[in-house]
């Protein structure tokens, strides 16, 4: 492309120009692949159809004309209110659209909002009951998966949607990775639970579990924190002192009368003075 014989036009440039993605701007470019994997699972993968029935197959034939059409399932757009992150809605969300209540009347706007109820879920691995806001669909999904932990661990992040569910999933995975310390009072039960759930650990590495369930800003601040901890500034006075000592050593001059006991042994008031100390110390 960069050959000099080609006349570069704006059109060609526009074709080669690629818009920078989310992971290529600023500090986000330092996010590890483990987080990228989670992000893909959460935001890029297509969630299961909850509010519509997808058509099966690739093609369909018009009964009247015999024409063949491809089947294109365009999902119904969903609205995710902030409250979705405080509950576990089982893939349901708010649908915004119109109703055509009568053929001769104008369509009217309508919101289809899921029924929410507060109930209790039991987590085997965490050994607790939790009070959470759920829908009927969540409860039937929990029943279909034979338990809350199985439901969370088997379902990909794009179907769990809510931050609460993802945080719980992360906590469960961490707990499993550590060998269920919450059941330490009963080693037999601890072993049983670990055996039951350990299959889920095989699809994650410890690093992936560490980066699982973080929101975008949490991940960025985590990167920033790690970076800050790695590049901790060293005071220049330490650097200069080290340099000086090395220089002196290379010149063959022995450092003497610098140790603390020698200073205290001398009677001169000048050597006892510390110009950087507090007033009463001096």
């Amino acid at each position: 492309m960069a050959s000099s014989r080609l006349q570069v036009t704006a059109r060609q440039l526009s074709k080669t120009f690629k818009k920078k993605g989310r992971f290529e701007i600023g500090i986000a470019s330092e996010l590890p692949p483990a987080y990228k994997k989670f992000w893909r699972e959460w935001k890029v993968l297509k969630p299961a159809a909850v509010h519509f029935v997808p058509q099966e197959g690739k093609w369909k034939r018009d009964e009247l004309t015999g024409e063949t059409y491809p089947i294109q399932n365009i999902p119904i757009p969903l609205k995710f209110p902030a409250e979705i992150n405080e509950g576990i809605w089982g893939g349901e969300a708010v649908v915004k659209g119109f109703q055509k209540r009568d053929d001769r009347r104008r369509r009217v706007p309508h919101y289809w909002v899921p029924v929410l109820k507060r109930t209790v879920v039991r987590s085997e691995v965490l050994n607790t009951h939790l009070s959470v806001t759920v829908t009927d669909r969540t409860i039937s999904l929990i029943n279909d998966h034979y338990g809350f932990d199985h439901y969370l661990l088997k379902t990909p992040a794009c179907d769990l949607v809510s931050v609460l569910a993802l945080k719980l999933k992360k906590q469960i995975l961490t707990e499993l990775m550590n060998g269920c310390p919450r059941h330490a009072y009963d080693p037999k039960k601890q072993m049983e639970i670990y055996e039951e759930y350990k299959t889920y650990l095989s699809s994650y590495t410890p690093e992936e579990i560490e980066w699982y369930g973080l929101t975008w800003y949490e991940a960025l601040s985590k990167v920033a924190k790690l970076k800050e901890a790695a590049n901790k500034p060293i005071p220049l006075k330490n650097v200069y002192r080290k340099n000086l000592v090395e220089k002196l050593k290379s010149a063959g001059i022995e450092s003497k009368s610098s140790s603390a006991d020698e200073i205290s042994a001398t009677t001169s008031w000048l050597s006892k003075m510390n110009p950087f100390g507090k007033k009463d110390e001096a």
Binding site: D62, V95, F98, Q99, R101, R107, R137, I139, N143, Y146
Partner: protein, 254 residues
């Protein structure tokens, strides 16, 4: 174009026009006017307002949900013992059994795990029947009124008690009734303000004490006045050996 319109007309006819009021349920929707086809792997065309007009296909909260199967992992009073498989309504099973930890889901592993308990002989089980605790509680609460004659002399026999139990709604065979150690004879006005207990054996296993009080019955003018709420008032023990046990019986409060 004709085909498309025909399909649109068809879909418009099938869907019933109902939406008279707002209902908040899990909805399965369908576009009334689907958007046009787009290129394979291409962008979805910009949608117009009509592509957001939805028809309700199904409301899952109205539909009856199938029952779920659970396995009890312990003895539950009035329900069953370990290893019993129950088929219950979704919410009942979840709220009353799964959440308190009385039962687990009937997946193949759990069925296998709790199967062993099912084959245990009956003697090993702590209870003869799932409902025995309830029956024992009912009998324990009962104050049995034994109606005896005020004119003819009598000696208390098991069949008297059997008849009195039947009047109170309990079918007790004579063989299950263990009489008090002392013979009770009447009619005797001293028996009126006294009580004693008999022991009833349920399923030849569980034993429960039942309080009894003698009531002298006579026809016409000689009829004694009826004592209101007699089951709430404590009485003196008829047999001194039984005093200790009789003190422990509960009295229904006002």
């Amino acid at each position: 174009m004709f085909g498309l319109r025909a399909s649109v007309m068809k879909s418009a006819i099938i869907v019933p026009t109902m939406f008279s009021q707002q209902t908040r349920n899990t909805f399965i929707l369908r576009r009334r006017w689907p958007p046009p086809l787009h290129k394979k792997g291409g962008k979805v065309p910009k949608m117009k307002g009509r592509h957001f007009v939805y028809d309700l296909v199904e409301d899952t909260s109205v539909k009856k949900k199938p029952d779920i199967r659970i396995v009890l992992n312990q003895f539950v009073e009035g329900v069953g013992t370990t290893g019993d498989v129950l088929t219950l309504h979704l919410n009942k099973a979840y709220e009353n059994f799964i959440l308190p930890g009385l039962a687990v889901y009937a997946n193949p592993e759990n069925l296998e795990k709790y199967k062993t308990y099912e084959k245990r002989p009956l003697e090993e089980n702590t209870h003869s029947s799932p409902f025995v605790k309830r029956t024992m509680d009912c009998l324990h609460r009962l104050v049995l009124r034994v109606t005896m004659s005020n004119s003819e002399p009598w000696t208390l026999q098991p069949w008297h008690l059997k008849a009195s139990f039947r009047k109170s709604g309990f079918v007790v065979p004579e063989s299950a009734i263990e009489m008090p150690p002392v013979q009770i004879k009447g009619p005797d006005p001293n028996l009126l303000d006294k009580e004693f207990y008999v022991t009833v054996t349920i399923n030849k296993k569980e034993k429960v004490h039942v309080r009894c009080r003698i009531y002298h019955w006579a026809a016409g003018q000689e009829q004694l006045p009826f004592e209101e709420s007699y089951w709430k008032k404590p009485k003196q023990p008829l047999i001194p050996e039984q005093a200790e046990v009789l003190q422990k019986f509960p009295y229904q409060n006002e």
